[in-house]
Symmetry: C2
Amino acid sequence: MPEATARSSGSRQSAIQLAPMEVPKASDVLARELRERILSGEFAEGAALPPERELVVQTQMSRATIREALRILEVQGLVRIKTGRAGGAFVQRPNKDAVASSVSLLIRGRQIRLSALLETREAIEPYCAQLAALHRTAEDLDALDAANDAIADDGSPLAAFLQANVDWHVAVATASHNELLTGFMTALSQAIYTATENERFVDQEVRRLTVRAHRSITKAIRAQDPDAAVRRMNRHVHSYAAAVLKVDKRTEISVAGGA
Amino acid sequence: MPEATARSSGSRQSAIQLAPMEVPKASDVLARELRERILSGEFAEGAALPPERELVVQTQMSRATIREALRILEVQGLVRIKTGRAGGAFVQRPNKDAVASSVSLLIRGRQIRLSALLETREAIEPYCAQLAALHRTAEDLDALDAANDAIADDGSPLAAFLQANVDWHVAVATASHNELLTGFMTALSQAIYTATENERFVDQEVRRLTVRAHRSITKAIRAQDPDAAVRRMNRHVHSYAAAVLKVDKRTEISVAGGA
DNA sequence: CATTTGCTAATGGTCCGACCTAAGTCACCT
DNA sequence: AGGTGACTTAGGTCGGACCATTAGCAAATG
Protein backbone atom coordinates (compact mmCIF):
# COMPACT_ATOMS: atom_id res chain seq x y z
CA MET A 1 0.00 0.00 0.00
CA PRO A 2 1.84 3.16 -1.16
CA GLU A 3 0.96 5.85 1.36
CA ALA A 4 0.67 9.34 -0.07
CA THR A 5 3.38 11.41 1.52
CA ALA A 6 2.92 14.67 -0.38
CA ARG A 7 1.42 17.56 1.52
CA SER A 8 -0.40 18.82 -1.55
CA SER A 9 -1.42 16.99 -4.69
CA GLY A 10 1.47 18.24 -6.69
CA SER A 11 0.24 21.57 -7.91
CA ARG A 12 1.54 25.06 -7.31
CA GLN A 13 1.61 26.16 -3.68
CA SER A 14 -0.29 29.28 -2.86
CA ALA A 15 0.77 31.29 0.17
CA ILE A 16 -2.60 30.62 1.77
CA GLN A 17 -3.02 27.23 3.43
CA LEU A 18 -6.17 25.72 4.88
CA ALA A 19 -6.69 22.57 6.87
CA PRO A 20 -9.15 20.00 5.56
CA MET A 21 -12.57 20.92 6.79
CA GLU A 22 -15.32 18.67 7.97
CA VAL A 23 -18.78 19.24 6.62
CA PRO A 24 -21.15 17.26 8.82
CA LYS A 25 -24.50 16.19 7.48
CA ALA A 26 -27.48 18.20 8.60
CA SER A 27 -29.26 15.16 9.98
CA ASP A 28 -26.19 14.27 12.04
CA VAL A 29 -26.03 17.77 13.45
CA LEU A 30 -29.65 17.65 14.49
CA ALA A 31 -29.31 14.14 15.89
CA ARG A 32 -26.29 15.16 17.91
CA GLU A 33 -28.05 18.22 19.26
CA LEU A 34 -31.12 16.27 20.31
CA ARG A 35 -28.99 13.47 21.73
CA GLU A 36 -27.03 15.83 23.93
CA ARG A 37 -30.20 17.43 25.20
CA ILE A 38 -31.70 14.08 25.99
CA LEU A 39 -28.62 12.76 27.75
CA SER A 40 -28.17 15.96 29.69
CA GLY A 41 -31.60 15.45 31.14
CA GLU A 42 -33.02 18.59 29.57
CA PHE A 43 -35.76 16.41 28.09
CA ALA A 44 -37.23 14.16 30.74
CA GLU A 45 -37.87 10.53 30.00
CA GLY A 46 -41.25 10.06 28.37
CA ALA A 47 -41.44 13.64 27.20
CA ALA A 48 -42.59 14.18 23.63
CA LEU A 49 -40.31 15.90 21.17
CA PRO A 50 -42.01 18.46 18.94
CA PRO A 51 -43.83 17.01 15.92
CA GLU A 52 -41.79 16.67 12.78
CA ARG A 53 -43.53 19.57 11.07
CA GLU A 54 -42.90 21.73 14.10
CA LEU A 55 -39.22 20.82 14.03
CA VAL A 56 -39.20 21.85 10.39
CA VAL A 57 -40.20 25.40 11.22
CA GLN A 58 -37.94 25.53 14.27
CA THR A 59 -34.81 24.21 12.60
CA GLN A 60 -35.45 25.42 9.03
CA MET A 61 -34.50 21.95 7.88
CA SER A 62 -36.54 19.80 5.55
CA ARG A 63 -38.75 17.09 6.91
CA ALA A 64 -36.63 14.38 5.31
CA THR A 65 -33.59 15.60 7.21
CA ILE A 66 -35.50 15.70 10.45
CA ARG A 67 -36.86 12.24 9.91
CA GLU A 68 -33.36 10.88 9.32
CA ALA A 69 -32.19 12.45 12.54
CA LEU A 70 -35.09 10.92 14.45
CA ARG A 71 -34.37 7.59 12.83
CA ILE A 72 -30.81 7.73 14.12
CA LEU A 73 -31.99 8.43 17.64
CA GLU A 74 -34.54 5.65 17.36
CA VAL A 75 -31.88 3.11 16.37
CA GLN A 76 -29.73 4.27 19.25
CA GLY A 77 -32.63 3.69 21.59
CA LEU A 78 -32.93 7.31 22.65
CA VAL A 79 -36.47 7.88 21.43
CA ARG A 80 -39.45 5.72 20.72
CA ILE A 81 -41.68 6.78 17.86
CA LYS A 82 -45.41 6.28 17.91
CA THR A 83 -47.74 6.88 15.00
CA GLY A 84 -51.19 8.37 14.95
CA ARG A 85 -52.69 11.26 16.78
CA ALA A 86 -50.92 12.03 20.05
CA GLY A 87 -48.00 10.15 18.52
CA GLY A 88 -44.52 11.49 17.99
CA ALA A 89 -41.03 10.90 19.28
CA PHE A 90 -40.90 10.18 23.00
CA VAL A 91 -37.69 10.42 24.94
CA GLN A 92 -36.33 7.16 26.24
CA ARG A 93 -33.23 6.35 28.19
CA PRO A 94 -31.15 3.73 26.41
CA ASN A 95 -31.60 0.32 27.99
CA LYS A 96 -29.73 -2.92 27.84
CA ASP A 97 -31.64 -4.07 24.77
CA ALA A 98 -29.77 -1.52 22.68
CA VAL A 99 -26.47 -2.90 23.93
CA ALA A 100 -27.69 -6.44 23.42
CA SER A 101 -28.60 -5.81 19.81
CA SER A 102 -25.29 -4.22 18.98
CA VAL A 103 -23.45 -7.05 20.68
CA SER A 104 -25.55 -9.47 18.71
CA LEU A 105 -24.53 -7.74 15.49
CA LEU A 106 -20.88 -7.92 16.50
CA ILE A 107 -21.18 -11.63 17.20
CA ARG A 108 -22.94 -12.43 13.96
CA GLY A 109 -20.92 -10.04 11.85
CA ARG A 110 -17.55 -11.20 13.04
CA GLN A 111 -18.68 -14.79 13.37
CA ILE A 112 -17.53 -15.04 16.92
CA ARG A 113 -17.37 -18.66 17.92
CA LEU A 114 -19.46 -20.24 20.62
CA SER A 115 -16.33 -21.03 22.57
CA ALA A 116 -15.54 -17.33 22.78
CA LEU A 117 -19.03 -16.59 24.06
CA LEU A 118 -18.75 -19.22 26.74
CA GLU A 119 -15.30 -17.98 27.63
CA THR A 120 -16.67 -14.48 28.08
CA ARG A 121 -19.40 -15.78 30.29
CA GLU A 122 -16.85 -17.57 32.41
CA ALA A 123 -15.14 -14.23 32.85
CA ILE A 124 -18.18 -12.23 33.83
CA GLU A 125 -20.72 -14.38 35.54
CA PRO A 126 -18.84 -15.58 38.62
CA TYR A 127 -18.26 -11.97 39.52
CA CYS A 128 -21.98 -11.31 38.97
CA ALA A 129 -22.78 -14.07 41.40
CA GLN A 130 -20.41 -12.59 43.91
CA LEU A 131 -22.01 -9.16 43.70
CA ALA A 132 -25.45 -10.74 43.75
CA ALA A 133 -24.62 -12.44 47.02
CA LEU A 134 -23.65 -9.07 48.44
CA HIS A 135 -26.50 -6.94 47.13
CA ARG A 136 -29.47 -9.19 46.43
CA THR A 137 -32.89 -8.13 47.61
CA ALA A 138 -35.92 -10.26 48.38
CA GLU A 139 -37.34 -9.54 44.94
CA ASP A 140 -34.12 -10.74 43.33
CA LEU A 141 -34.43 -14.04 45.17
CA ASP A 142 -38.02 -14.41 44.02
CA ALA A 143 -36.97 -13.89 40.41
CA LEU A 144 -34.22 -16.49 40.76
CA ASP A 145 -36.58 -19.06 42.25
CA ALA A 146 -39.24 -18.41 39.63
CA ALA A 147 -36.81 -18.86 36.75
CA ASN A 148 -35.37 -22.02 38.22
CA ASP A 149 -38.81 -23.49 38.80
CA ALA A 150 -39.54 -22.91 35.14
CA ILE A 151 -36.36 -24.76 34.24
CA ALA A 152 -37.36 -27.66 36.46
CA ASP A 153 -40.53 -28.23 34.46
CA ASP A 154 -39.66 -31.52 32.76
CA GLY A 155 -42.44 -31.41 30.21
CA SER A 156 -41.50 -28.08 28.65
CA PRO A 157 -39.96 -27.96 25.17
CA LEU A 158 -36.33 -27.12 24.51
CA ALA A 159 -37.06 -23.48 23.73
CA ALA A 160 -38.81 -23.02 27.06
CA PHE A 161 -35.90 -24.57 28.91
CA LEU A 162 -33.38 -22.36 27.18
CA GLN A 163 -35.46 -19.24 27.76
CA ALA A 164 -35.90 -20.03 31.43
CA ASN A 165 -32.19 -20.68 31.60
CA VAL A 166 -31.49 -17.26 30.15
CA ASP A 167 -33.97 -15.74 32.59
CA TRP A 168 -32.20 -17.27 35.54
CA HIS A 169 -28.78 -16.07 34.45
CA VAL A 170 -30.10 -12.60 33.77
CA ALA A 171 -31.74 -12.67 37.19
CA VAL A 172 -28.35 -13.32 38.74
CA ALA A 173 -26.93 -10.36 36.88
CA THR A 174 -29.85 -8.19 37.90
CA ALA A 175 -29.28 -9.14 41.52
CA SER A 176 -25.77 -7.74 41.24
CA HIS A 177 -27.39 -4.30 40.92
CA ASN A 178 -24.75 -3.26 38.44
CA GLU A 179 -26.58 -2.11 35.34
CA LEU A 180 -23.58 -2.31 33.07
CA LEU A 181 -22.75 -5.85 34.09
CA THR A 182 -26.41 -6.71 33.70
CA GLY A 183 -26.39 -5.25 30.21
CA PHE A 184 -23.38 -7.33 29.21
CA MET A 185 -24.85 -10.49 30.66
CA THR A 186 -28.20 -9.92 28.97
CA ALA A 187 -26.55 -9.51 25.61
CA LEU A 188 -24.32 -12.48 26.21
CA SER A 189 -27.02 -14.82 27.48
CA GLN A 190 -29.23 -14.01 24.54
CA ALA A 191 -26.39 -14.75 22.17
CA ILE A 192 -25.57 -18.02 23.85
CA TYR A 193 -29.24 -18.94 23.70
CA THR A 194 -29.39 -18.57 19.93
CA ALA A 195 -26.07 -20.30 19.45
CA THR A 196 -27.12 -23.22 21.64
CA GLU A 197 -30.59 -23.53 20.18
CA ASN A 198 -29.63 -26.22 17.73
CA GLU A 199 -27.39 -28.18 20.03
CA ARG A 200 -28.68 -31.63 20.75
CA PHE A 201 -27.04 -32.22 24.05
CA VAL A 202 -29.79 -30.84 26.26
CA ASP A 203 -31.45 -33.92 27.66
CA GLN A 204 -33.22 -34.64 30.92
CA GLU A 205 -29.92 -35.30 32.60
CA VAL A 206 -28.53 -31.92 31.63
CA ARG A 207 -31.67 -30.25 32.87
CA ARG A 208 -31.46 -32.02 36.18
CA LEU A 209 -27.85 -31.02 36.68
CA THR A 210 -28.61 -27.45 35.65
CA VAL A 211 -31.43 -27.11 38.13
CA ARG A 212 -29.28 -28.55 40.88
CA ALA A 213 -26.40 -26.19 40.16
CA HIS A 214 -28.72 -23.22 40.02
CA ARG A 215 -30.31 -24.17 43.32
CA SER A 216 -26.93 -24.43 44.93
CA ILE A 217 -25.84 -21.06 43.62
CA THR A 218 -29.13 -19.45 44.57
CA LYS A 219 -28.67 -20.80 48.05
CA ALA A 220 -25.29 -19.11 48.35
CA ILE A 221 -26.74 -15.87 47.06
CA ARG A 222 -29.60 -16.11 49.52
CA ALA A 223 -27.16 -16.76 52.34
CA GLN A 224 -25.12 -13.75 51.21
CA ASP A 225 -22.06 -15.92 50.90
CA PRO A 226 -20.05 -14.32 48.08
CA ASP A 227 -17.22 -16.84 48.18
CA ALA A 228 -19.50 -19.83 47.77
CA ALA A 229 -21.47 -18.02 45.07
CA VAL A 230 -18.44 -17.22 42.96
CA ARG A 231 -17.01 -20.70 43.43
CA ARG A 232 -20.19 -22.52 42.50
CA MET A 233 -20.98 -20.27 39.58
CA ASN A 234 -17.47 -20.71 38.30
CA ARG A 235 -17.89 -24.43 38.41
CA HIS A 236 -21.33 -24.31 36.81
CA VAL A 237 -20.47 -22.18 33.80
CA HIS A 238 -17.21 -24.01 33.32
CA SER A 239 -18.79 -27.45 33.25
CA TYR A 240 -21.61 -26.20 31.05
CA ALA A 241 -19.08 -24.78 28.62
CA ALA A 242 -17.13 -28.01 28.61
CA ALA A 243 -20.26 -30.01 27.92
CA VAL A 244 -21.40 -27.74 25.09
CA LEU A 245 -18.00 -27.67 23.48
CA LYS A 246 -17.70 -31.45 23.64
CA VAL A 247 -20.92 -31.79 21.68
CA ASP A 248 -19.94 -28.95 19.42
CA LYS A 249 -16.65 -30.57 18.51
CA ARG A 250 -18.26 -33.91 17.98
CA THR A 251 -20.81 -32.31 15.67
CA GLU A 252 -18.10 -30.65 13.66
CA ILE A 253 -16.27 -33.91 13.28
CA SER A 254 -19.32 -35.84 12.27
CA VAL A 255 -20.24 -33.19 9.77
CA ALA A 256 -16.75 -33.14 8.36
CA GLY A 257 -16.66 -36.92 8.28
CA GLY A 258 -20.02 -37.22 6.63
CA ALA A 259 -19.15 -34.92 3.75
CA MET B 1 -51.41 2.41 37.54
CA PRO B 2 -54.72 0.62 36.84
CA GLU B 3 -53.87 -2.19 34.48
CA ALA B 4 -56.58 -3.03 31.98
CA THR B 5 -57.63 -6.57 32.65
CA ALA B 6 -60.43 -6.90 30.09
CA ARG B 7 -59.71 -8.96 27.03
CA SER B 8 -61.82 -6.61 24.90
CA SER B 9 -62.87 -3.05 25.52
CA GLY B 10 -66.22 -4.03 26.96
CA SER B 11 -68.30 -4.53 23.89
CA ARG B 12 -70.02 -7.57 22.45
CA GLN B 13 -67.80 -10.49 21.61
CA SER B 14 -67.96 -11.73 18.07
CA ALA B 15 -67.15 -15.37 17.44
CA ILE B 16 -64.23 -14.37 15.27
CA GLN B 17 -61.02 -13.40 17.06
CA LEU B 18 -57.88 -11.97 15.59
CA ALA B 19 -54.51 -11.41 17.15
CA PRO B 20 -53.01 -7.92 17.01
CA MET B 21 -51.15 -7.60 13.76
CA GLU B 22 -47.83 -6.00 13.16
CA VAL B 23 -47.44 -3.66 10.22
CA PRO B 24 -43.72 -3.10 9.82
CA LYS B 25 -42.44 0.05 8.22
CA ALA B 26 -41.13 -0.21 4.71
CA SER B 27 -37.72 1.13 5.67
CA ASP B 28 -37.46 -1.46 8.43
CA VAL B 29 -38.31 -4.23 6.03
CA LEU B 30 -35.63 -3.11 3.63
CA ALA B 31 -33.10 -2.60 6.40
CA ARG B 32 -33.79 -6.06 7.76
CA GLU B 33 -33.46 -7.62 4.33
CA LEU B 34 -30.16 -5.92 3.62
CA ARG B 35 -28.90 -6.67 7.12
CA GLU B 36 -29.59 -10.36 6.75
CA ARG B 37 -27.84 -10.48 3.42
CA ILE B 38 -24.85 -8.68 4.81
CA LEU B 39 -24.59 -10.86 7.90
CA SER B 40 -25.10 -14.03 5.91
CA GLY B 41 -22.03 -13.11 3.91
CA GLU B 42 -23.92 -12.76 0.65
CA PHE B 43 -22.42 -9.29 0.35
CA ALA B 44 -18.70 -9.39 0.97
CA GLU B 45 -17.06 -6.80 3.16
CA GLY B 46 -16.19 -3.71 1.18
CA ALA B 47 -18.68 -4.49 -1.54
CA ALA B 48 -20.81 -1.59 -2.74
CA LEU B 49 -24.56 -1.79 -2.44
CA PRO B 50 -26.47 -0.55 -5.48
CA PRO B 51 -26.88 3.23 -5.69
CA GLU B 52 -29.96 4.65 -4.05
CA ARG B 53 -31.67 5.34 -7.34
CA GLU B 54 -30.97 1.82 -8.47
CA LEU B 55 -32.49 0.45 -5.27
CA VAL B 56 -35.53 2.59 -6.01
CA VAL B 57 -36.20 0.78 -9.27
CA GLN B 58 -35.33 -2.62 -7.78
CA THR B 59 -37.48 -2.34 -4.67
CA GLN B 60 -40.20 -0.03 -5.99
CA MET B 61 -39.78 2.01 -2.84
CA SER B 62 -39.21 5.73 -2.71
CA ARG B 63 -35.79 7.15 -2.27
CA ALA B 64 -36.66 8.56 1.13
CA THR B 65 -37.56 5.09 2.37
CA ILE B 66 -34.37 3.64 0.99
CA ARG B 67 -32.32 6.38 2.54
CA GLU B 68 -33.87 5.73 5.95
CA ALA B 69 -33.06 2.05 5.64
CA LEU B 70 -29.46 2.85 4.75
CA ARG B 71 -29.28 5.26 7.66
CA ILE B 72 -30.35 2.48 10.01
CA LEU B 73 -27.64 0.19 8.69
CA GLU B 74 -25.12 3.00 8.95
CA VAL B 75 -25.93 3.60 12.62
CA GLN B 76 -25.66 -0.11 13.27
CA GLY B 77 -22.23 -0.09 11.71
CA LEU B 78 -23.13 -2.42 8.87
CA VAL B 79 -22.41 -0.03 6.03
CA ARG B 80 -20.29 3.01 5.53
CA ILE B 81 -21.60 5.67 3.20
CA LYS B 82 -19.37 7.75 0.99
CA THR B 83 -20.45 10.73 -1.07
CA GLY B 84 -19.45 11.77 -4.52
CA ARG B 85 -18.88 9.77 -7.65
CA ALA B 86 -17.88 6.15 -6.96
CA GLY B 87 -19.49 6.72 -3.58
CA GLY B 88 -22.36 4.76 -2.13
CA ALA B 89 -23.01 2.33 0.69
CA PHE B 90 -20.14 -0.06 1.32
CA VAL B 91 -20.61 -3.19 3.35
CA GLN B 92 -18.81 -3.26 6.66
CA ARG B 93 -18.70 -5.84 9.40
CA PRO B 94 -19.70 -4.35 12.71
CA ASN B 95 -16.69 -3.65 14.88
CA LYS B 96 -16.18 -2.95 18.52
CA ASP B 97 -16.70 0.77 18.04
CA ALA B 98 -20.40 0.15 17.47
CA VAL B 99 -20.60 -1.75 20.74
CA ALA B 100 -18.54 0.90 22.47
CA SER B 101 -20.85 3.68 21.38
CA SER B 102 -23.98 1.89 22.50
CA VAL B 103 -22.37 1.07 25.82
CA SER B 104 -21.41 4.70 26.13
CA LEU B 105 -25.02 5.71 25.57
CA LEU B 106 -26.15 3.25 28.20
CA ILE B 107 -23.69 4.64 30.70
CA ARG B 108 -24.55 8.25 30.06
CA GLY B 109 -28.26 7.65 29.71
CA ARG B 110 -28.66 5.65 32.87
CA GLN B 111 -26.04 7.66 34.71
CA ILE B 112 -24.13 4.60 35.68
CA ARG B 113 -21.72 5.49 38.43
CA LEU B 114 -17.98 5.30 38.15
CA SER B 115 -17.91 2.69 40.88
CA ALA B 116 -20.03 0.40 38.71
CA LEU B 117 -17.67 0.86 35.79
CA LEU B 118 -14.66 0.01 37.91
CA GLU B 119 -16.51 -2.94 39.37
CA THR B 120 -17.22 -4.23 35.89
CA ARG B 121 -13.61 -3.88 34.96
CA GLU B 122 -12.62 -5.84 38.02
CA ALA B 123 -14.89 -8.59 36.77
CA ILE B 124 -13.60 -8.72 33.23
CA GLU B 125 -10.01 -7.70 33.06
CA PRO B 126 -8.29 -10.30 35.22
CA TYR B 127 -9.78 -12.95 33.00
CA CYS B 128 -8.53 -11.03 29.97
CA ALA B 129 -5.05 -11.08 31.44
CA GLN B 130 -5.32 -14.80 31.99
CA LEU B 131 -6.33 -15.46 28.40
CA ALA B 132 -3.68 -13.03 27.20
CA ALA B 133 -1.02 -15.03 29.00
CA LEU B 134 -2.24 -18.13 27.24
CA HIS B 135 -2.68 -16.78 23.73
CA ARG B 136 -0.47 -13.74 23.33
CA THR B 137 1.66 -13.38 20.21
CA ALA B 138 4.85 -11.44 19.71
CA GLU B 139 2.88 -8.56 18.20
CA ASP B 140 0.67 -8.42 21.27
CA LEU B 141 3.72 -8.05 23.47
CA ASP B 142 5.03 -5.26 21.27
CA ALA B 143 1.74 -3.40 21.61
CA LEU B 144 1.80 -3.79 25.38
CA ASP B 145 5.35 -2.50 25.65
CA ALA B 146 4.65 0.44 23.35
CA ALA B 147 1.61 1.52 25.33
CA ASN B 148 3.41 1.24 28.63
CA ASP B 149 6.37 3.21 27.33
CA ALA B 150 3.96 5.98 26.39
CA ILE B 151 2.57 5.92 29.92
CA ALA B 152 6.06 6.18 31.37
CA ASP B 153 6.67 9.49 29.60
CA ASP B 154 6.66 11.83 32.57
CA GLY B 155 6.34 15.03 30.61
CA SER B 156 3.12 14.13 28.81
CA PRO B 157 -0.15 15.83 29.77
CA LEU B 158 -2.95 14.11 31.63
CA ALA B 159 -4.91 13.32 28.47
CA ALA B 160 -1.91 11.56 26.95
CA PHE B 161 -1.42 9.50 30.08
CA LEU B 162 -5.05 8.44 30.16
CA GLN B 163 -5.10 7.59 26.47
CA ALA B 164 -1.95 5.51 26.76
CA ASN B 165 -3.47 3.84 29.79
CA VAL B 166 -6.55 2.94 27.75
CA ASP B 167 -4.32 1.69 24.96
CA TRP B 168 -2.48 -0.63 27.31
CA HIS B 169 -5.63 -2.10 28.77
CA VAL B 170 -7.11 -2.58 25.32
CA ALA B 171 -3.87 -4.23 24.27
CA VAL B 172 -4.28 -6.74 27.07
CA ALA B 173 -7.80 -7.48 25.89
CA THR B 174 -6.60 -7.79 22.31
CA ALA B 175 -3.96 -10.26 23.40
CA SER B 176 -6.72 -12.47 24.79
CA HIS B 177 -7.77 -13.05 21.18
CA ASN B 178 -11.39 -13.04 22.20
CA GLU B 179 -13.11 -10.41 20.10
CA LEU B 180 -16.16 -10.15 22.31
CA LEU B 181 -14.15 -9.64 25.46
CA THR B 182 -12.05 -7.13 23.57
CA GLY B 183 -15.18 -5.29 22.52
CA PHE B 184 -16.42 -5.09 26.09
CA MET B 185 -13.08 -3.92 27.39
CA THR B 186 -12.74 -1.29 24.66
CA ALA B 187 -16.14 0.15 25.50
CA LEU B 188 -15.42 0.00 29.19
CA SER B 189 -11.96 1.52 29.03
CA GLN B 190 -13.20 4.38 26.93
CA ALA B 191 -15.98 5.03 29.41
CA ILE B 192 -13.62 4.95 32.36
CA TYR B 193 -11.33 7.31 30.51
CA THR B 194 -14.00 9.95 30.12
CA ALA B 195 -15.24 9.46 33.65
CA THR B 196 -11.73 9.78 35.07
CA GLU B 197 -10.73 12.73 32.91
CA ASN B 198 -11.62 15.28 35.55
CA GLU B 199 -10.27 13.41 38.52
CA ARG B 200 -7.39 15.15 40.16
CA PHE B 201 -5.69 12.21 41.73
CA VAL B 202 -3.40 11.33 38.83
CA ASP B 203 -0.02 12.59 39.95
CA GLN B 204 3.51 11.42 39.25
CA GLU B 205 3.24 8.87 42.02
CA VAL B 206 0.16 7.29 40.48
CA ARG B 207 1.86 7.18 37.12
CA ARG B 208 4.89 5.50 38.58
CA LEU B 209 2.82 2.86 40.32
CA THR B 210 0.76 2.29 37.19
CA VAL B 211 3.78 1.75 35.02
CA ARG B 212 5.24 -0.66 37.55
CA ALA B 213 2.04 -2.68 37.81
CA HIS B 214 1.72 -2.82 34.06
CA ARG B 215 5.29 -3.98 33.65
CA SER B 216 4.73 -6.71 36.17
CA ILE B 217 1.57 -7.90 34.45
CA THR B 218 3.18 -7.70 31.03
CA LYS B 219 5.99 -9.83 32.34
CA ALA B 220 3.55 -12.53 33.42
CA ILE B 221 1.83 -12.40 30.06
CA ARG B 222 5.15 -12.64 28.29
CA ALA B 223 6.11 -15.60 30.44
CA GLN B 224 2.76 -17.22 29.63
CA ASP B 225 2.00 -17.50 33.30
CA PRO B 226 -1.79 -17.19 33.51
CA ASP B 227 -1.98 -17.50 37.28
CA ALA B 228 0.42 -14.64 37.90
CA ALA B 229 -1.27 -12.56 35.22
CA VAL B 230 -4.72 -12.91 36.71
CA ARG B 231 -3.45 -12.31 40.24
CA ARG B 232 -1.48 -9.21 39.38
CA MET B 233 -4.17 -7.75 37.19
CA ASN B 234 -6.70 -8.34 39.91
CA ARG B 235 -4.56 -6.45 42.34
CA HIS B 236 -3.87 -3.66 39.89
CA VAL B 237 -7.45 -2.88 38.91
CA HIS B 238 -8.61 -3.28 42.48
CA SER B 239 -6.12 -0.84 43.90
CA TYR B 240 -6.73 1.59 41.06
CA ALA B 241 -10.45 1.42 41.74
CA ALA B 242 -9.89 1.97 45.44
CA ALA B 243 -7.71 4.99 44.76
CA VAL B 244 -10.16 6.54 42.33
CA LEU B 245 -13.11 5.97 44.60
CA LYS B 246 -11.31 7.48 47.56
CA VAL B 247 -10.78 10.70 45.62
CA ASP B 248 -14.25 10.48 44.19
CA LYS B 249 -15.83 10.24 47.60
CA ARG B 250 -13.72 13.04 48.97
CA THR B 251 -14.76 15.23 46.05
CA GLU B 252 -18.42 14.48 46.67
CA ILE B 253 -18.06 15.36 50.32
CA SER B 254 -16.20 18.56 49.66
CA VAL B 255 -18.78 19.56 47.06
CA ALA B 256 -21.60 18.75 49.44
CA GLY B 257 -19.87 20.56 52.27
CA GLY B 258 -19.19 23.62 50.18
CA ALA B 259 -22.78 24.04 49.05
C1' DC C 1 -79.12 5.74 28.09
C1' DA C 2 -75.57 2.92 26.28
C1' DT C 3 -73.32 1.38 22.36
C1' DT C 4 -71.88 1.63 18.04
C1' DT C 5 -70.54 4.00 14.13
C1' DG C 6 -68.59 7.59 11.65
C1' DC C 7 -66.20 12.02 11.18
C1' DT C 8 -62.33 15.06 12.10
C1' DA C 9 -57.85 16.30 13.30
C1' DA C 10 -53.11 15.38 14.43
C1' DT C 11 -49.15 12.97 13.49
C1' DG C 12 -45.89 9.77 11.43
C1' DG C 13 -45.07 7.07 6.80
C1' DT C 14 -44.40 7.19 1.89
C1' DC C 15 -43.84 9.06 -2.48
C1' DC C 16 -42.38 12.25 -6.26
C1' DG C 17 -39.52 15.40 -8.46
C1' DA C 18 -36.24 18.90 -8.35
C1' DC C 19 -31.92 20.81 -7.29
C1' DC C 20 -27.39 21.09 -4.62
C1' DT C 21 -22.88 19.16 -3.40
C1' DA C 22 -18.89 15.99 -3.60
C1' DA C 23 -15.75 13.58 -6.20
C1' DG C 24 -13.82 10.80 -10.05
C1' DT C 25 -12.92 11.03 -15.37
C1' DC C 26 -11.39 12.95 -19.23
C1' DA C 27 -10.80 15.91 -22.98
C1' DC C 28 -8.85 20.15 -23.95
C1' DC C 29 -5.70 23.88 -23.74
C1' DT C 30 -1.39 26.01 -22.56
C1' DA D 1 3.46 17.21 -19.57
C1' DG D 2 0.56 19.43 -16.59
C1' DG D 3 -3.08 21.98 -15.20
C1' DT D 4 -7.99 23.38 -15.90
C1' DG D 5 -12.53 22.90 -16.38
C1' DA D 6 -16.61 20.43 -18.14
C1' DC D 7 -19.03 16.20 -17.59
C1' DT D 8 -20.85 12.46 -15.01
C1' DT D 9 -22.29 9.78 -11.08
C1' DA D 10 -23.01 9.41 -6.70
C1' DG D 11 -25.21 11.01 -2.08
C1' DG D 12 -27.54 15.27 0.49
C1' DT D 13 -31.31 18.48 0.89
C1' DC D 14 -35.58 20.46 -0.11
C1' DG D 15 -40.69 21.26 -0.81
C1' DG D 16 -44.94 19.57 -1.32
C1' DA D 17 -48.42 16.12 -1.78
C1' DC D 18 -50.88 12.26 -0.24
C1' DC D 19 -51.55 7.90 2.62
C1' DA D 20 -52.07 5.39 7.21
C1' DT D 21 -52.86 5.33 12.00
C1' DT D 22 -54.85 6.81 16.03
C1' DA D 23 -57.37 9.78 19.65
C1' DG D 24 -61.27 12.25 20.56
C1' DC D 25 -65.72 13.73 19.62
C1' DA D 26 -70.18 13.66 17.45
C1' DA D 27 -73.93 11.52 15.51
C1' DA D 28 -76.73 7.66 14.75
C1' DT D 29 -78.99 3.73 16.56
C1' DG D 30 -81.11 0.33 19.50
